[in-house]
Amino acid sequence: MVCIMNEALELEVGLKVLEVGAGSGYHACTIAEIVAPSDVPREEWGHVWTIEIVFELYKMAEENVRRNGYSDKVTVIHGDGSLGYSENAPYDRILVTAAAPEIPDTLIEQLKIGGLIVTPIGAPGGFQELVKAYKRSNGSIETVRLGGVAFVPLRGRKGWKGWW
């Protein structure tokens, strides 16, 4: 999924990115390679914040990020990512690595004007579609559908009820 999502995210050097669902931490590190490449001066680097709701996975992701040398480009946070991470908002890009009932309004709020969010939308085990949504200058949302996918359900306040 990293390949399709990273292509859809229109990533470039210097962008601030929020990932909802760190998992192993792998996806965040591939994004860091694009927004904060080592051959570019540090002042021009972007950054990736990635939130994980499962404590054990948060610990694993943090350890993986550190062990593979991405600690200065990727920050792993333990918390409910369906509410975003307002501390460093707004973000240029947001990606969600679990399927939500709809694009969480909290994430749209934390997106910059001109920014874009890529997220799977759909029911657990049911039909899910990868959606890309741009936040336009008048605040409106323009969505593009990228086809069917299969993700774990999004948990948390803006996720699927019963999947806490």
Binding site: M1, V2, C3, I4, N6, E7, L11, E12, G23, S24, G25, Y26, H27, C29, T30, I31, E33, I34, P37, V54, E56, L57, M60, N64, R67, N68, T97, V149, A150, F151, V152
Partner: protein, 68 residues
């Protein structure tokens, strides 16, 4: 599996993804090339790091397949 063997398998995947139009952008390809996916996978599943499939990472969660 040695790091050299992982590298060969990864290049084979990249070739397929580029041919199928999944990978298009140079920076996205380079990012996939640079991060060792095998290091983010439980030890016992490492041999499958560059097979195009999702793998369990525990706690009911998975690491997605590289392309899907």
């Amino acid at each position: 599996m040695s790091s050299e063997e992982f590298k060969i398998e990864k290049e084979r995947l990249i070739e397929i993804y580029v041919r199928e139009g999944i990978l298009k952008t140079k920076s996205v390809i380079e990012a996939f090339r640079r991060v060792p996916r095998e290091n983010f996978i439980p030890e016992y599943l490492r041999a499958y790091a560059y097979v195009d499939t999702p793998l369990p990472i525990g706690y009911g969660q998975t690491i997605s397949a590289p392309h899907f």
